[in-house]
């Protein structure tokens, strides 16, 4: 138990509830982010060519977007409720920085949803073709910009910057908006996340089109949709490789423990190995002397090279980050815990001195606090190994994401090749390809969720990197109330998911209707 008087099960249930809500919310988001651009491309071709089949294709995918949007909308707002109830210390601590991006997101989402989406759905034959097309593009851009703000806020939690902690209010205050907004972590996170959504949406479109081809229906709509989605998916795959690399470089610099967990790297060094895949020794703990892996397949030196384009680049492992590597500027975790305790205690002493009117003592304590503030979060930890996340979960999630992402590139390439040459229906193993595409729909969601597991589990124990562990962020409330709402959410979200899948599959089976012509 890291924070005195906090029930450890409260922390676990609060985390479980947040994870449940976030993961369900994320089921609906990626399709929305990506399919809108696919629809916008289709409608652009319709406006350019005047071909009514493109309009029919556009309207069919718009219908599926509408169902996904209707069921997914507002599921994210519950996360904000949880901040206020379960994570009040955190909400207060980050309030000014987290509040601004979330407020912008809320306003932007409201205006976008009430105007451009309405034109998209109600405006056919009521506004000009060009105005309708502009609304579709603006909806796509708006949805992605809406995602920008929450990802900026999340980026700040991974790499807090552009802020000043006010010891009188116990809040971080934004001193430089651009440092927060353009932080390299936030920029990479935004680009990596939205491109992952584009890939999910592309596979969604290809998978459903494959269903039509398997059934021998809607051949033209399916083939045209596959061309658009495979090109979009391929471009997005190239972008995600670049942004993934960018994110990994940022993680190496700002969250080295997360990188060590992603690679299952317990002992670091130069010429560090990039793990293609491996099985970590069951029950493996830092410093237990066991082999790191039962089996592994890696590329020697590649991790160092990818991070710094230099095989001699030093990459710390889990144990190095605990012990410290002074010559590389890495302090031992115990030293940071000691400095963190000084920061926490001097903050309390400052507050008492100020209350008692002892200005000299208050000034002295404030100086001591400021000197140690960058270690503040460590002051809540008991022992150095508390900074290790769940290595196995992070490692397997990361590798599942990467392997699936690589597999998707080949799927996009195959569909692009056959559909561009218009030979997909002559391909000998086309049925297998169609079934693979169908399978890729759930696989893409698994890859996308796994990415979030890497991001969020990998940064444990921190809710705000180095400044606040989850145990200090949680509200001191009864864990039974959190358990109750956990199960309520589990039921509500599962019902929504069932509704989504059943309505969606019914509409897919119906296919494009006459009204959509």
């Amino acid at each position: 138990m890291m924070l005195l008087n906090v029930d450890p099960s409260l922390v676990d249930w609060s985390r479980a509830q947040f994870a449940l809500t976030a993961m369900y919310h994320w089921i609906f988001v990626p399709v929305t982010l990506g399919i809108l651009f696919i629809i916008a491309f289709m409608e652009t071709i319709y406006v350019k060519t005047g071909d009514p089949e493109w309009k029919r294709t556009t309207k069919f995918w718009m219908k599926l977007f509408g169902i996904n949007f209707a069921i997914g909308v507002a599921t994210g707002i519950i996360l904000e409720f949880e901040f206020g109830t379960n994570w009040s210390n955190y909400s207060w601590f980050v309030g000014d920085i987290f509040g601004a991006p979330l407020a912008i997101e809320g306003i932007m989402a409201f205006f976008m949803e009430s105007t451009f989406i309405a034109v998209m759905f109600f405006g056919w034959n009521k506004v000009s073709k060009k105005f309708h097309l502009a609304s579709t593009w603006l909806t796509a851009i708006g949805a992605n910009l809406s995602a920008l703000w929450i990802l900026v806020a999340n980026g700040w939690m991974q790499f807090p910057t552009g802020m000043y902690f006010n010891p009188d209010t116990a809040r971080n205050e934004m001193v430089n908006f651009w440092d927060v907004f353009l932080s390299p972590v936030a920029v990479n996170k935004f680009l990596h996340t939205i491109t992952s959504g584009y890939i999910v949406a592309s596979l969604f479109v290809i998978g459903i089109s494959s269903y039509f081809l398997l059934r021998g229906r809607e051949s033209l709509l399916a083939k045209r949709s596959i061309i658009i989605a495979s090109v979009f998916g391929l471009i997005s795959s190239i972008a995600i490789i670049l942004t993934g690399h960018g994110s990994a470089v940022q993680v190496a610099e700002k969250q080295p423990m997360k990188l060590a967990a992603m690679e299952g790297l317990y002992k670091g060094g130069t010429n560090a190995e990039l793990m293609g895949f491996g099985i970590i020794t069951p029950g493996k703990q830092a410093f237990d002397g066991k082999n790191d892996y039962v089996v592994k397949f890696g590329f020697k030196g590649m991790l160092s090279y990818l991070i710094a384009f230099n095989k001699d680049h030093y990459v710390p492992g889990v144990e190095d980050l605990i012990n410290g590597v002074p010559e590389k500027g890495i302090l031992p975790a115990q030293e940071r815990i000691d400095k963190g305790k000084i920061a926490v205690s001097s903050l309390k002493a400052y507050k008492i001195a100020k209350k008692n009117g002892n200005t000299a003592e208050a000034r002295k304590m404030l100086a001591l606090f400021n000197e140690n503030y960058k270690h503040f979060g460590y002051g809540f930890l008991d022992k150095p190994t508390d900074i290790i996340p769940n290595v196995q979960l992070v490692f397997y999630s990361f590798h599942a994401m990467v392997l699936l992402g690589t597999f998707f590139v080949f799927v996009f390439l195959a569909f692009f090749w056959f559909s561009f040459r218009n030979t997909i229906e002559k391909f000998r193993f086309r049925k297998l390809l169609y079934y693979i595409a169908l399978l890729c729909i759930p696989l893409s969601f698994i890859a996308s969720e796994a990415g979030w597991v890497v991001v969020e589990v990998g940064r444990q124990p921190w809710v705000v990197q180095d400044y606040m562990p989850v145990s200090a962020a949680v509200t001191d409330i009864s864990s039974s109330s959190v358990q109750l709402t956990f199960f309520i959410f589990a039921v509500v979200f599962t019902a929504l998911l069932i509704a989504e899948v059943s309505i969606m599959t019914r509409q897919i089976k119906i296919g494009p209707t006459k009204q959509e012509k």
Partner: protein, 79 residues
């Protein structure tokens, strides 16, 4: 005024001519809205600091107290 009337009519016509799947989607949005904003927000998820404290100063003091609980075991005043 005419513009406002046209916009209003645009929305009314849109809702009137909505296909069956659209009506189902709206039914889900409304039901979900009731569950999220009434049941979840007001009954199960009050804002802890807003509910229990009246001023920002009280909230600050409470959070500071929570964050510095552990400092009781660590004395820095002799430094």
């Amino acid at each position: 005024m005419k513009l406002i009337r046209n916009i209003f009519r645009f929305y009314v016509d849109g809702f009137k001519n909505m296909p069956a799947w659209g009506r189902t989607a709206w039914a889900i949005i409304v039901l979900k809205g009731v569950i999220i904003f009434i049941l979840i927000k007001f009954l199960l998820f009050p804002n802890f600091l807003k509910k229990n404290f009246e001023t920002d100063e009280e909230r600050s003091d409470y959070v500071l107290e929570q964050l510095t609980k552990k400092a009781d075991n660590y004395d820095v005043t002799e430094r």
